[in-house]
């Protein structure tokens, strides 16, 4: 049994909450008291049927306004898998929430209303999924009951979306016709789609291979904490604690510590309190080195035969998340995993139209939910990989120096070389 993290993109109008409610309900993850609470609220609101959306809207303001404001996490499991759903709102003013939910999703379910086909919102969600490099996309064509379960309608949407997928270079796209409200193709395949030869949505979610998405080729180990017991019997113990971002580490590996570029050899590895010969992503581990070298939090231990890029000038995509606009020339803290350095946003190159992927003229400021391409200079070199190659070592956050809020999400594209 493993874990699948997925995000659902779409709005209430697309039936997103109904779909989540349906998955939870049909997998028996909604319990009697929770259902009773929803029934009570539905009565309070005096509008008829049980509203499965009330399951996902956790805050009073959300329930009152009937909207989803923030990312909510929901859990269910089947004998095959544990599922973590990041339920993010779909409208453009909540782009930052979708980006947040997408950042560690293995899969995105993008809902398309069968009556409307591929619309602006579908493109936006696909662009965000592509920018955040979500490995698997499921296009769920919903409300098929309202178009008479028509294969033609479905096929036309597939043709339209194939264009979108092609333009974004989306690799793994799976299509499925559903009716969330009726439960068609959700847990079991429905007889309403005699022409559909694929599996049910839950079957897809249970069986999609996510193991291959974990990078085991490029060893990256951001040091979080140094363990020194300072006890007589463990006088020489010095362990570098962290979570392996990618790759495999073995005792005897020749390593380099970045950014200092000091070299050493792995002398021992511990995982979960046991000494082991090798450890792999995404395990938390303690590495020991043969030499007494100076390593602290924020350093990255990598293999001598496989180096990340090291640069203090970076080209990035930034999704802006703060009410205070981003201005070229502003300084921020730049955090990649455990490494925090100061940086300046040197230039905003262009703004991305998240509905069309068009490059818009460089604005002097970027506002909340804007996605821009920019150049950043950091106070000291950053060991990184391009976000496209390695999500776990190519994503960074910008922190406002005075408010200390997380103001932006950066997807590092490349180093800037003169």
């Amino acid at each position: 049994m493993d874990i699948l993290r997925f995000i659902t993109a779409g709005s209430v109008d697309d039936g997103k909450s109904t779909l989540i409610g349906r998955l939870l309900f049909d997998s028996k993850s909604i319990l009697i008291d929770q259902l009773a609470a929803i029934e009570k609220q539905t009565r309070n609101r005096q509008d008829g049927e049980i509203d499965l959306a009330l399951l996902t809207d956790g805050l009073r303001a959300e329930r009152e306004q009937g909207i989803t404001i923030d990312v909510a996490y929901k859990y269910f499991s089947t004998p095959k898998r544990k599922f973590i759903i990041a339920d993010a709102p779909g409208h453009i003013q909540y782009t930052r929430n979708m980006v947040t939910g997408a950042s560690n999703a293995d899969l995105a379910i993008i809902l398309v209303d069968a009556r409307n086909g591929v619309v602006e919102q579908t493109r936006r969600h696909s662009i965000i999924a592509s920018l955040l490099n979500i490995p698997h996309i499921v296009i769920a064509v919903n409300k098929m009951d309202l178009v008479g379960y028509s294969q033609d309608v479905y096929n036309n949407i597939l043709i339209d979306y194939a264009e979108v997928a092609k333009s974004l270079g989306l690799k793994d796209v799976i299509y499925i016709p559903i009716s969330a409200i009726n439960g068609d193709n959700i847990v079991d395949t429905s007889t309403n789609f005699p022409w559909y030869e694929g599996e049910s949505l839950l079957h897809i979610l249970e069986n999609i291979e996510v193991y291959n998405d974990i990078n085991l080729d490029d060893p990256r180990f951001p040091v979080q904490y140094v363990i020194r017991p300072q006890r007589e019997d463990l006088h020489d113990y010095r362990g570098y604690a962290g979570k392996i971002a990618s790759g495999i580490y073995k005792t005897g590996d020749k390593v380099v510590i970045l950014p200092s570029e000091i070299t050493s050899t792995i002398s021992a590895i511990e995982v979960s309190g046991q000494e082991v010969q090798e450890a792999f992503a995404p395990q938390s581990a303690i590495l020991h080195l043969a030499d007494d070298v100076d390593i602290s939090r924020g350093d990255v231990i990598v293999n001598q035969n496989n180096l990340p890029q090291l640069s203090n000038e970076l080209e990035v995509f930034i999704c802006w998340m703060d009410h205070k606009p981003l201005q070229a020339g502003n300084k921020y803290f730049f955090q990649v995993n455990s490494r925090v350095v100061r940086c300046v946003v040197k230039e905003i190159k262009y703004k991305l139209d998240v509905n069309t992927l068009q490059k818009l003229d460089a604005p002097d400021k970027a506002g909340l939910n804007d996605i821009v391409n920019a150049t950043i200079k950091t106070a000291s070199p950053i060991p990184f990989d391009s976000y496209k190659k390695l999500r776990t070592n190519g994503g960074a956050i910008l922190i406002d120096e005075t408010s200390l809020l997380t103001a932006g999400a950066c997807m590092i594209q490349d180093a800037i070389t003169d």
Binding site: L31, D33, A37, L59, V71, Y73, S77, A241, I397
Partner: protein, 302 residues
């Protein structure tokens, strides 16, 4: 099956260890809030994985409401002795006296709300900048929106509309003086995950989690242990039943469930078959209003 695969419990464990180490790496004075329940016992176990053979870079802090199950207190003291870590206990009783707080009245007068005062006092007394807690997102719908690092203002208040976005595994722990962070390493665990982990790691628990004979009072469908903290009325019917606890909070606000499950396997079987959520079945304090938890969190509760 390749050997480079983690199953879901190893995955959750690794994530929790990572969060523990982020707290240790980012904060000057963290603390681990320890209640004596299964979730905080699991937290201690995970902290051992994160920091041994070193010492914990934080003390355990127990906010003692005075309404605890004696079994949970005995267990707490035994565990602390075994692991050789520091425990700080602060009593709600003392806060009530020194701050002249008004206690709840009624049959099941609870100190659940008052413990927030003691918690905020202990944070101030020691200058804690991060408090690690065992809250899980599956427990309750307001908690489903909670970040792993949740920033609280100097009044300990949670502002759900001003939460920091949290991306990848990158946690922003930067705070202003007077603010503090609540950090939740087991956010992504469900009740069943906790029990499966306890089983796999053979983690010891207080005896009240297993079936035992207890004198209880039936109140609105819930079984409440008879204790000195509950004001019995002459019409109350007290019976003796085979029960166990799904959650362990105060004796006044935690209800027992009828059960003959005397070992972890039996408990897991019961939980898989159950039709009621953990908090719904056993927490008297969540039933006050739809937003009971959201309101308490806004006031500084976990």
């Amino acid at each position: 099956m390749s050997s480079y695969r983690l199953d879901y419990l190893d995955h959750l464990e690794s994530e929790a260890i990572h969060i523990f180490r982020e707290v240790a790496g980012q904060f000057e004075k963290p603390a681990l809030l320890f209640s004596g329940g299964k979730d905080s016992i699991t937290l201690v176990h995970l902290a051992l994985k994160a920091f041994r053979p070193g010492k914990f870079p934080f003390p355990l802090v127990h906010i003692d409401t005075g309404h605890n199950f004696p079994e949970a207190l005995d267990f707490r003291d035994k565990l602390v002795t075994e692991i050789g870590e520091k425990l700080i206990v602060r009593k709600v009783e003392d806060t009530i006296r020194s701050k002249n707080l008004t206690e709840q009245k009624g049959k099941f007068a609870s100190r659940n709300a008052l413990q927030t005062y003691t918690l905020l006092d202990v944070i101030e007394e020691f200058g804690f900048d991060a408090c690690i807690g065992g809250a899980r997102r599956d427990e309750e719908k307001a908690r489903a929106k909670e970040r792993i690092f949740s920033v609280r203002d100097e009044f300990g208040q949670w502002n759900p509309k001003l939460q920091r976005p949290e991306l990848w595994n990158t946690y922003n722990g930067k705070i202003h003086k007077g603010e503090n962070v609540r950090a939740f390493p087991i956010s992504n665990w469900t009740e069943l995950d906790i029990w499966n982990y306890i089983k796999r790691k053979n983690i010891e628990l207080p005896s009240i989690y297993f079936s035992h004979e207890r004198k209880v009072l039936e109140h609105e469908g819930q079984l409440v242990a008879v204790s000195e903290f509950i004001n019995l009325e002459p019409t109350d019917i007290v019976t003796s039943k085979k029960v166990r606890y799904r959650t362990v909070g105060d004796m006044t606000c935690t209800a027992a469930v009828e059960s003959t499950a005397s070992n972890i396997d039996d408990i897991i079987t019961e939980i898989i078959a159950t039709k009621t959520s953990e908090r719904g079945e056993t927490r008297i304090d969540d039933k006050v209003s739809e937003a009971a938890m959201e309101d308490r969190k806004k006031n500084g509760y976990f």
